[in-house]
């Protein structure tokens, strides 16, 4: 039975997101310099924070996979990185919109968070092609974990390098929570982070439950119909079967009635 607690998590996420957006629109004060467009801050920054944390989480799961050889950790690592990539794209898009609205350019190089965000995206975008180019599922899982660990360590290191390289002369007061954030904004901001984290966790849980259910269905079909009746797995970047049905006498279905009778 997979997906336990999904309903509660869904409701919590829905409530948190609704509350966040209500507060963003009706409670958080308008920024004096940037006006309404500044409110994208409540989406962009939480998404960015959740993305970066998720990449590091993916690396931790990958390390656990290598340590325990339990393929479920690989599945978790894969799903976390997969959803984080989607959040990453969302973060880049909202960042670009904000940059265009505030400074008139779609892209600004003197914003270290945004730049390192792009580099991290370019690195993690290779995760799927790497997986796809390895056919053996066990090796795929191992190699992907090695990559995820390296890439997870890369996230903070990259941030240090990019930050040091940026002149950092931007006149922006917001986006850095250096005490310059009014308390009303800070409250909404914290809630926004919680809501985004919940949304992220929810998406991951759904995806993991779906993948595991599909695996189990496939294992059951193989057991019931015989392993020859189920189409072989195609190439995929996603982790495949955790533990295929063993071809032993217990699990293998008889191939023909005569065999069954004997």
């Amino acid at each position: 039975m997979y997906g336990k607690g999904l309903r509660a998590l869904s409701l919590a996420t829905f409530a948190a997101l609704t509350a966040t957006f209500a507060l963003v629109f009706f409670y958080a004060p308008l920024d004096a310099d940037q006006g309404f467009i500044q409110k994208i801050f409540y989406v962009h920054v939480p998404v960015a924070i959740v993305t970066l944390c998720a990449y590091v989480l993916g690396a931790i799961f990958a390390a656990l996979h290598l340590r325990t050889r339990d393929r479920r950790w690989d599945l978790r690592s894969y799903v976390v990185i997969h959803i984080a990539l989607i959040f990453n794209i969302l973060g880049l898009l909202t960042g670009a919109i904000w940059a265009k609205a505030s400074w008139g350019h779609w892209w600004v190089w003197d914003e270290p968070t945004l730049v390192s965000f792009l580099i991290v995206f370019l690195l993690f975008a290779t995760y799927q092609p790497l997986r796809f180019s390895i056919e053996d599922p066990e090796r795929q899982a191992r190699y992907a974990s090695v990559f995820a660990i390296m890439a997870g360590a890369f996230v903070p290191l990259n941030f240090v390098a990019v930050r040091a390289a940026t002149a950092y002369v931007h006149p922006r007061v917001l986006g850095t929570t250096n005490g310059g954030l009014p308390s009303q904004m800070a409250l909404v901001f914290v809630l926004a982070i919680v809501a985004m984290a919940l949304l992220f966790a929810l998406l991951c849980c759904y995806e993991i439950a779906a993948k595991q259910t599909r695996w189990q269905l496939r294992a059951l079909r193989r057991r019931l119909l015989g392993s020859d009746a189920v189409a072989p797995l195609g190439r995929s970047a996603a982790p495949s079967l955790g533990e295929p049905a063993r071809g032993g006498s217990v699990t293998r279905a008889p191939r023909n009635p005569a065999e069954a009778a004997s």
Partner: protein
């Protein structure tokens, strides 16, 4: 340590018998300088521009070497040979990283000279000690990450595609640091030493990825 030396000696011998990586990296570097001359429309470069041209060229040349690093092991059964021996598997990582470091150093010996003659505006001599230091640190980064990425890609179906798309973003922080550290060495107004900040970032990169690659390399060989 002794197995690593045996493996390294074998790699150097192979490169001497059938030179592949070093000549290719060398030709690639010099050709790229010529391309930069036309692409930038400049006879001479200095400062940050010079630093960028040099480090990016070396990075791309390194990709060629990284692509070839494990080809002999993969195609001629060297992996099995090493795995059957009673040695630590990380010996292979150490040997490959050391080999790549040496290859890069050899290539740079000629490539930097060619760069100074073909493109560099200011005299290379005042900044040379600093350049050696920066390149040594950059080579460690290229060697460590290169050896790992090469092993990661060698048994995939699209290895020559996987190497650059994984290695380039992974090496971006090292490139940022190396390019920034090199810039003052090529300053048109007179060379000054490489900034400590960037040397520190480069050294931190070497340390973190060196240890990490050393720790995870085993898992790439186990089947």
């Amino acid at each position: 340590m002794r197995p690593s030396i045996a493996l390294l000696r074998k790699d150097l011998l192979l490169e001497r018998r059938a030179p592949e990586a070093i000549p290719a990296m060398l030709l690639f570097s010099v050709t790229t300088f010529v391309l930069f001359h036309f692409g930038l429309g400049r006879d001479e470069v200095a400062g940050q521009l010079a630093a960028g041209v040099l480090t990016v060229t070396l990075l791309f040349a390194a990709i060629l070497g990284i692509n070839r690093l494990f080809v002999a092991e993969q195609e001629e059964g060297g992996f099995d040979g090493v795995l059957l021996a009673p040695i630590d598997r990380t010996a292979l990582f150490v040997a490959k990283a050391a080999g790549l470091f040496l290859f890069l150093a050899l290539v740079e010996l000629v490539a930097v000279a060619a760069f100074a003659i073909l493109l560099l505006g200011p005299s290379p001599w005042p900044g040379l000690p600093g350049l050696v230091l920066v390149l040594a640190l950059l080579n460690v980064a290229l060697a460590v990450v290169g050896a790992l990425v090469s092993a990661l890609a060698i048994r995939t179906r699209a290895r020559d595609l996987i190497v650059p798309i994984v290695a380039l973003p992974l090496l971006t922080p090292a490139l940022i640091a190396a390019a920034r550290a090199t810039a003052p060495l090529f300053d048109a107004a007179g060379a000054s030493g490489p900034p400590t900040k960037w040397l520190a970032v480069l050294a931190l990169y070497d340390l973190v990825f060196g240890l990490l690659a050393y720790a995870v390399f085993d898992f790439l060989l186990e089947d």
